[in-house]
Amino acid sequence: MQKQVLVLEMSMPVLFLAGIKNAMNEKEKYQKLKEIVQTYLPDDVSVDAIRPESNFTTELNINSANLVDIVLDVEDVFDITLENEDMDGMLTVGDALTIIDNKISDK
């Protein structure tokens, strides 16, 4: 019984730190993704239009060919591999972030 308490106490600060680290990473991931998307943004779409809820094709006006390039850049930057079904489910910037998170945690 005493041993369990000890484990709990020791793991708490570790978990707390891990939480902060993840929160930072989320921000960094979003920033990295934003930089990639920015490269393929048409001239008439402002960088400010890139938000988690932005739809790549209907709102950011990115065509399917450039969307492939975004996926390939995402693979390089985050060192992950995406499949056809991931691409099909990647409609918004937020979808892309979720896919990136899932792929990184699966590694």
Partner: protein, 148 residues
């Protein structure tokens, strides 16, 4: 899929077919050739009294052999009856003129084929083996079964 099958599946016809034959095709690339016949309509105006094959036509020839033929091969059995192709990116450099009656050979190397986008490095040579133009081209492939 052999070279004859690929030619049969090409969605072009005269006067906009710029592939005569394919010499080799594999997972990594393709080699094919075309002879520009002197009666082609564009020679009447490019240029006046001085026929030279337009760069856009050389690019089209590179794209038909280097991207479309290779793409048909790579799609293989996944390919439906009516393929839909979109030319998405091109970056070309032109080094030598191509005159009427010249036979050119296009060599294409796959850079990647992912998510139905094929990107290739292409080179076109004239009959003396001189490099005529080179560049990078990409296209999107869609099956007729796709809803989009």
């Amino acid at each position: 899929m052999n070279t004859k099958n690929i030619l049969d599946k090409l969605p072009y016809a005269s006067p906009f077919l710029f592939v005569d034959q394919l010499e080799t095709v594999s997972e990594t690339g393709v080699t094919g050739s075309f002879t520009f016949l002197p009666d082609a309509d564009f020679y009447k105006g490019h240029f006046k009294d001085f026929p030279v094959t337009p760069g856009v036509i050389l690019t089209e020839c590179c794209a038909q052999i280097g991207v479309v033929c290779l793409g048909i091969y790579l799609m293989g059995d996944e390919l439906g009856q009516n393929i839909k192709i979109g030319f998405s990116n091109s970056s070309m450099e032109f080094l030598e003129p191509v005159y009427p009656n010249e036979k050119v050979t296009v060599k294409s190397e796959k850079i990647y084929f992912r998510f139905n986008k094929l990107k290739c490095k292409v080179k076109m040579f004239n009959s003396t083996g001189k490099l005529v133009c080179r560049g990078e081209l990409s296209g999107m492939f869609k099956n007729d079964s796709d809803a989009k």
